[in-house]
């Protein structure tokens, strides 16, 4: 079996999921063919790159796939590698020789407070930094992708604050039907009842902005598959906001369509240390609001890091996690057992 690039299946919490670490992308952990209770939800998901601008105007690293601007590729570490400077200083003992050295898949049972969960995690060295990619699949149908930063602060700028803009690429195929999905934007405009909340369907690919004041969220909704109450099946995207947009990271969500699995994966983005290529080159073209399209969206999870280099982060960065959620809406049946449908 090749050391990297194979698909590995894990089962748990009602999910069947494949994971993969590609051979040559440097873009970290990939999730493939995530099915919930016998129904396809996700074709592929990944967090292939990050933009990391520092205060003072330089540097602005593009880390991960197609690293630029001083950024570094994601190199898979053994999952036992320490969160310290050691894997940067001397990678040999810590770099994963095969993908199964890197990835840990665990299942946690439901308890009095949480549903059962299937969790797939791996850590990656990136210069002096480390990134953890961790995807959690819950028995209530929710997917929660996490990304953590660890390792060590910039050795030359240990006290300089910076922002981690971490870009996810998500290709949902609701109930396995494609190209039959539309992309919708939710706004809570007022407390009028009814009509205070509104969903709008996008008719074109493009860049979208968050607005927490409007409880803004997004949805990939199928135009064909319905549950047993006649509701179109869909998955919503909920994105907490820990930091805002800036001149480097200019949007929150980009809606595109599937153009293959070897193209538009994050390459040729960040050539000038910004994400403008996502809007200018990736998210371009119409969407079919009636029959649906094969939707792929990009999304940014952010964290502003004010280093605690004279205290808690003096010798290493404790892993700091950020996340977003992909939440089912009318994906499951209300009246009958879900497993028997479709």
């Amino acid at each position: 079996m090749p050391a990297f690039g194979s698909y590995h299946n894990v089962i748990g919490a009602g999910w069947s999921v494949y994971w993969k670490i590609p051979v040559a992308s440097a873009g970290g952990l990939e999730i493939w063919w995530a099915d919930f209770q016998g129904h396809r939800v996700l074709w592929r998901g990944s967090q292939p790159f990050a933009l990391v601008p520092y205060h003072g105007g330089s540097p602005t690293f593009k880390d991960g796939l197609d690293a630029h601007c001083g950024g570094a590729p994601f190199t898979a570490l053994k999952h036992t590698a320490p969160n310290s400077m050691a894997p940067w200083q001397n990678p040999g003992p810590f770099v994963a020789a095969v993908d199964t050295d890197a990835v840990v898949a665990t299942t946690e049972s439901a308890d009095d407070f949480n549903p059962a969960r299937l969790i797939i995690s791996a850590k990656f060295q990136c210069g002096w930094y480390q990134y953890v990619h961790s995807w959690e699949f819950s028995s209530d149908g929710v997917i929660t992708p996490h990304v953590a930063m660890g390792g060590h602060v910039h050795p030359g700028k240990p006290d300089v604050a910076h922002v981690h803009h971490m870009y996810f690429r998500v290709d949902l195929d609701i109930d396995g039907l494609f190209p039959r999905d539309v992309f919708e934007v939710f706004n809570h405009n007022s407390f009028a009842q009814p009509g205070g909340d509104k969903w709008d369907t996008l008719n074109a690919q493009g860049k979208l902005l968050h607005d927490p004041d409007k409880a803004r969220k997004w949805r990939v909704r199928n135009t064909v598959a319905k549950n047993d109450t006649g509701q179109f099946k869909g998955y919503e995207v909920e994105l907490p906001r820990q930091a805002g947009r800036d001149q480097y990271s200019t949007g929150d969500v980009w809606v595109t369509v599937y153009r293959g699995d070897g193209f538009q994966q994050g390459e040729n983005v960040g050539l000038r240390c910004t994400d403008v290529e996502l809007a200018n080159n990736y998210a371009v073209g119409p969407l079919d609001t009636v029959n649906g399209s094969d939707i792929v969206f990009w999304l940014v999870v952010r964290a502003h890091h004010e280093p605690r280099n004279l205290g808690e982060e003096a010798d290493h960065l404790p892993y700091h996690y950020e996340e977003f959620s992909i939440v089912p809406r009318s994906f499951r049946n209300a009246k009958s057992d879900h497993r028997g449908q479709g």
């Binding site: 079996m1 090749p2 990297f4 690039g5 194979s6 698909y7 299946n9 089962i11 009602g14 999910w15 069947s16 494949y18 590609p22 051979v23 040559a24 992308s25 440097a26 063919w33 099915d35 919930f36 209770q37 016998g38 129904h39 396809r40 074709w43 593009k62 197609d66 690293a67 630029h68 601007c69 001083g70 950024g71 570094a72 590729p73 400077m85 940067w88 200083q89 001397n90 990678p91 210069g127 002096w128 060590h152 050795p155 030359g156 195929d173 396995g176 039907l177 494609f178 599937y258 293959g260 699995d261 070897g262 193209f263 390459e267 040729n268 050539l271 240390c273 094969d294 010798d315 497993r339």
Partner: protein, 189 residues
């Protein structure tokens, strides 16, 4: 073939026949075929990356996916990155120029880049420090578009675990030369 489970969709069960890991023979066949398909297009200096299994979406939800193999080839002299997609028999499916894309740095490329950089006297002087090491990074664009550029960040860590950057080198593997080196000053540390 992997076991099926109740959690799997029909679409995933239909993939089980095509997603088993690549065999060494498949990898050899695909790599040789990819290079052959580029006959006349490649310069004398190119790098073939390890082949990778690729399962494209089927044309329709209920049709079968095909087992394909992607071979990435970087041509140093022509400054091109090409992906050749072949089937399991080596038949060409698609050829894509990934203009500007820099794939992961291979260990042997980093070795070559270090050798080139460390032949420079200024570099040698800057890194003549106990425990000096190098890590690779992706530099800003430099020179002709598509050049294979490898950044090398030299650093050292003292006994008290204080890290210090020594300098940054940029090696152009297309030109096989050091194109930039900057010593990291005490103030910058």
């Amino acid at each position: 073939m992997a076991r099926t489970h109740a959690e799997m969709s029909k679409a995933t069960k239909a993939l089980l026949k095509v997603i088993k890991p690549l065999s060494a023979k498949e990898e050899r066949t695909a790599t040789a075929a990819a290079v052959k398909h580029l006959t006349g297009e490649l310069s004398e200096r190119y790098q073939v990356f390890p082949a990778e299994l690729r399962i494209p979406k089927p044309p329709r939800p209920n049709s079968a996916s095909k087992r394909m193999i992607a071979v990435l080839i970087l041509d140093y002299e022509k400054r091109r990155t090409l992906e050749v997609l072949v089937d399991t028999l080596g038949k060409l499916v698609q050829k894509t120029e990934l203009r500007g894309f820099q794939p992961v740095f291979l260990a042997k490329e980093i070795q070559v880049a270090r050798k080139i950089a460390e032949e420079d006297k200024q570099v040698l002087r800057a890194i003549k420090v106990r425990g000096a090491f190098a890590s690779a990074f992706g530099p800003h664009s430099y020179g002709e578009p598509g050049a294979r550029l490898i950044g090398l960040r030299y650093a050292t860590v003292d006994r008290k675990q204080n890290a210090r950057l020594l300098g940054e080198a940029i090696v152009d593997l297309s030109e096989q030369k050091l194109v930039h080196f900057e010593v990291t000053s005490e103030e910058e540390n």
